[in-house]
C-alpha cells in the first residue's frame, strides 16, 4: 500500500532510462545487527513494493505533425453551446495539401524556421540567425498568448491626487 507518494518517491534520468527511488526513513535510535546506532537515518532505496499502473508519465510527444483537416477551424459552429473541434487524422505520407498540425501563430513560426533553414542552405548564416530569432519570438508570443493576466493595484489611502 503506497502512501504519501509525493514525498516518498523520487526520480532521475540516467541515459535512456528513468530511475525510480523510494525515500526510506530509518529509525536511528534502533541499533543494527552489530549493535551500532545508525548515524544516517534516511536513505534512497529501490521501490520496495509492486504497484499496478503505479507510475504515470506525462510528456510532450511527437504526434501527428501533418493532418488531413485544418486544426484551426471548428467542424461545427452553430452557436456558443453547439460546436465541435475537427477530427484530426494523421497523414503519414504528407503532400502539399496536408495541414501542419499547429495553431496559426506556431504555423507562422514554422515558416520562419523553414526560411532560416533555407538561408543556411544557401550559406547565409546571418540571415538564418535573423529568421531563427523570429522563430523563437513567435514561440514566445504563442506562449504568452496563453497567459494573459491583468494585474490591478489599489491606490494607497495616503496618495495625493
Amino acid at each position: 500500500m503506497s502512501y504519501d507518494t509525493s514525498s516518498n518517491y523520487f526520480w532521475r534520468i540516467n541515459g535512456q532510462k528513468m530511475q525510480l527511488f523510494r525515500y526510506r526513513k530509518n529509525s536511528f535510535l534502533t541499533p543494527d545487527v552489530s549493535g551500532r546506532v545508525q548515524a544516517d537515518d534516511n536513505e534512497l532505496v529501490y521501490p520496495d513494493e509492486a504497484i499496478t499502473n503505479g507510475l504515470r508519465i506525462e510528456y510532450n510527444a511527437f504526434v501527428k505533425p501533418f493532418v488531413s483537416a485544418d486544426p484551426n477551424t471548428l467542424a461545427t459552429d452553430t452557436n456558443e453551446t453547439t460546436w465541435t473541434n475537427p477530427t484530426l487524422t494523421e497523414v503519414t505520407a504528407p503532400e502539399e495539401t496536408s495541414h501542419v498540425n499547429l495553431n496559426r501563430m506556431l504555423s507562422l513560426a514554422c515558416v520562419c524556421f523553414v526560411q532560416g533553414q533555407n538561408a543556411a542552405k544557401e550559406g547565409n548564416i546571418q540571415l538564418k540567425e535573423y529568421y531563427m530569432r523570429e522563430f523563437y519570438k513567435k514561440l514566445a508570443d504563442n506562449e504568452s498568448n496563453k497567459r494573459k493576466i491583468s494585474i490591478s493595484f489599489a491606490s494607497p489611502v495616503s496618495s495625493v491626487r
Binding site: 509492486a50 504515470r56 501533418f66 503532400e95 515558416v111 523553414v114
Partner: protein
Amino acid sequence: MTVLEVMERAGIRDTNLAIAWIKDAVHFIESTQAENLKVRKMSIVKNQRDYDLPADLISINSISVLDTEDDNKYKKIRRISGEHYVTEDTNP
C-alpha cells in the same frame, strides 16, 4: 496552414525538403512548448529501479506515483538533483 502555404510564404520549391524542415520545426516546438501532451502508465515492480521511457518522448512534463492509501490519486514526485552515492544495489 497547409504545406503549400508554408512553402509559398518561405519561397521554397522543393516539397520533400520543406516537409523535412516542417517536421524539424514541429520537433523544436514540441521540445519547448507543451503542445501535445501524452500520458503513459506502467507498473512499478518491486526492487526494480530502471524503467523505460516512451519512445515518442520529447520532453518530460511530470512524473507521478499512485497513492493507494489516498483514494488512488497520482501524486507528482520530485526529481533528484545531484549524484546519488549508491550506483547499484545488488541486494535491494
